[in-house]
């Protein structure tokens, strides 16, 4: 794993402004990121955050306002879409309705003027890869959503693009199919060795499939990292809230530095790393995942924390603790389900390194 990584896509200071009439919308603000060769890279964010804009800028469907995009160290900003060796899988598949499955998949190869025998062998090879060979003569409207999805994938993979761009390709499928396709996409990426750039608003999708994730909000990249990094140490409140469940608890700094101490408004003291720019008595926000908090039984005179909600989930439970003005969410593991019930008084433990001071 220590081999040198090759940059597939470099996005440098990219800004995109949409102008309609006198109104201007900044869809991307000075975005920077690097996507490595052979990587499954996900752009994750809420709708309207700019993730699709970035994908369309890479594909060449939109003109860039400022900045540069390199593909394997070659500037591509001034190339039209048909001159860029990248292919796109569209959200609504956008298969050509007047062409059959075979002609859809062969389309790119024909435009590249490949010779007839290669077009045929490659088209069937890709159709085989997505298990759609026997549907070659069907028209797109004779296929189910999942099948259309496979054809769209095959069509984009056939010309062997250097990078495959996927614009929320699973969002139109039902849940079961979506989960199966996640696994298939991941396998396909590994088998073909093509760099995938995947756009989604679904954090679970992003966490399960990606090698790395860029979290985007309001046109700005919030954090780039491996799924674990993003989940365990989000760089700000937005990322913490957008990925999974998060407790953001307010408190005061007692000691900063490597072995810092903070006191929560609930009276609990935590040992954690406090960045040096935070001084004593500064107000801080502390991030901790609900499943990291350990609780134990207590009594009314010792603790102010009462279980105000208890939601049974079958294989686990989520509970909400109330104290003064703070709500704390905790996930209970299955073995603790029987121990606690609503209106119990409890006490908290925060395992060291499970909490973090957050901006």
């Amino acid at each position: 794993m220590m081999e040198k990584k090759v940059n597939a896509i470099d996005v440098r200071n990219v800004t995109k402004i949409y102008t309609s009439g006198n109104a201007q919308t900044k869809a991307l603000k000075n975005a920077n990121l690097t996507i490595y060769d052979n990587e499954f890279f996900t752009l994750l964010g809420p709708s309207g955050c700019g993730k699709t804009t970035l994908l369309r800028l890479i594909a060449g469907f939109e003109d860039i306002t400022d900045g540069s995009i390199n593909l394997f160290n070659q500037e591509i900003v001034n190339l039209p879409p048909n001159k860029r060796p990248v292919n796109t899988v569209f959200q609504q598949y956008s298969l050509f309705p007047h062409l059959n499955v075979y002609e859809n998949v062969a389309f790119g190869l024909r435009r590249l003027k490949k010779d007839a025998s290669f077009v045929e062998s490659r088209t069937f090879e890709v159709l085989e890869l997505v298990q759609m060979k026997e549907y070659a003569n069907r028209k797109p409207n004779q296929l189910s959503g999942g099948q259309q999805q496979r054809v769209a994938l095959a069509r984009a993979l056939a010309p062997e693009p250097k990078v495959l761009l996927l614009d929320e390709p699973l969002s139109a499928l039902d849940l079961k199919l979506r989960q199966a396709m996640r696994f298939e996409l991941k396998t396909l990426q590994r088998e073909t060795g093509i760099t995938f750039v995947f756009v989604t608003h679904d954090q679970e999708e992003a966490l399960t499939m990606s090698d790395r994730i860029a979290v985007i909000n309001e046109g700005e990249i919030q954090q780039i990292g491996e799924p674990e990094q993003i989940y365990e140490s989000p760089s700000n409140k937005f990322v913490a809230n957008f990925i999974g469940e998060a407790n953001l608890l307010s408190g005061v700094c007692k000691t900063s530095g490597e072995n810092g101490v903070c006191e929560l408004d609930t009276g609990h003291e935590l040992n954690l790393f406090v960045p040096p720019h935070i001084k004593q008595n500064d107000k801080v926000t502390i991030f901790i995942r609900p499943e990291r908090i350990k609780i134990e039984k207590s009594s009314k005179d010792k603790s102010q924390l009462r279980i105000s909600e208890f939601t049974y989930l079958g294989n686990a439970a989520t509970i909400q603790l109330k104290s003064n003005n703070q709500l704390i969410n905790v996930n209970l593991p299955i073995e603790d389900l029987k121990i606690f019930k609503k209106d119990d008084y409890v006490d908290l433990h925060f395992p060291k390194e499970s909490a973090q001071v957050i901006d």
Partner: protein, 270 residues
């Protein structure tokens, strides 16, 4: 149970009392005269409204009438020249307005193209007449072709615009993404997908041109008489069974074209 039944009774508009009757009267008023006209075109009697027996006599007479034949040929010349011209112009307009991105006066231009649909035809007719007269253009049938081309554009424009708006713009992007340049994208994706819309626009323009009377009457000089104008001049001399026959033929032709139009339209919606 009682209230439920009552509610159900007025769920559909035809459950309102009297609705069915009015509908029947409406359809009767609309179609019975046409039906009778077609029936009487097969009447052997010399008088238009007295039935004496079945015959093709008036149809035979039509085919030996040189004036009617000239008028029919004129009508077809005009329609086959004006409808394609109008369709081509309408296609380019629709492409510019729907796929041309944002530009100044886009909405306004779109409205301006369809506005003639709402302008009283007699206004257009008189204006066209004055226009030709003041410029001194007097080219017979060509005047009629120019006038028909212009007023058929909005009719051809509507279905083409609708077809283009229904087309997923991502299809063209997908083609561009798959190494297709602008020209080949238009040839391989846009045009084939737009063909049903263009054909239905053409059919509509064709029928409108064939049927037009008011503008043609104003614009057509001597020797440029089309069929509807000729029929009108026949009626002025009294309704002869020949008029019934020629009207029936025109009706049959229009139904044929409208059926084609409907067929292509259904293809767009699929």
């Amino acid at each position: 149970m009682q209230t439920k039944n009552k509610k159900r009774k007025f769920r559909y508009v035809w459950n309102f009392p009297g609705f069915g009757g009015w509908t029947a009267i409406f359809f009767g008023f609309l179609y019975i005269p046409i039906f009778i006209l077609v029936c009487y075109s097969f009447n052997s009697s010399k008088f238009a409204m007295i039935w004496t027996g079945f015959s093709f006599r008036w149809y035979a007479k039509l085919f030996s009438n040189d004036d009617i034949q000239t008028a029919t040929i004129n009508s077809f010349i005009v329609a086959f020249a004006a409808a394609p011209l109008a369709t081509i112009i309408a296609t380019f307009s629709a492409l510019a307005l729907v796929r041309g991105g944002e530009f100044r006066f886009r909405e306004f231009s779109s409205g301006l193209i369809t506005l003639p649909l709402m302008v009283p035809e007699i206004v257009t007719a008189v204006a066209t007449l004055i226009f030709f007269a003041s410029l001194g253009i007097n080219l017979g049938l060509i005047n009629v072709i120019i006038a028909h081309t212009v007023f058929c554009i909005p009719f051809a424009f509507m279905p083409i615009k609708a077809a283009l708006e229904a087309m997923d713009p991502n299809l063209e992007l997908a083609a561009r993404d798959l190494y297709s340049d602008k020209t080949s994208t238009f040839k391989t994706i846009t045009l084939p997908l737009l063909t049903p819309g263009i054909l239905s626009g053409f059919m509509l323009a064709f029928v409108i041109s064939i049927d037009d009377f008011i503008i043609t009457l104003m614009v057509a000089g001597g020797g440029a008489t089309t069929l509807p104008v000729y029929i009108y001049s026949m009626v002025k001399m009294g309704v002869s069974p020949e008029v019934n026959a020629v009207s029936s033929l025109m009706l049959a032709f229009s139904i044929f074209i409208v059926t084609l139009y409907w067929f292509f339209n259904r293809k767009i919606n699929n």
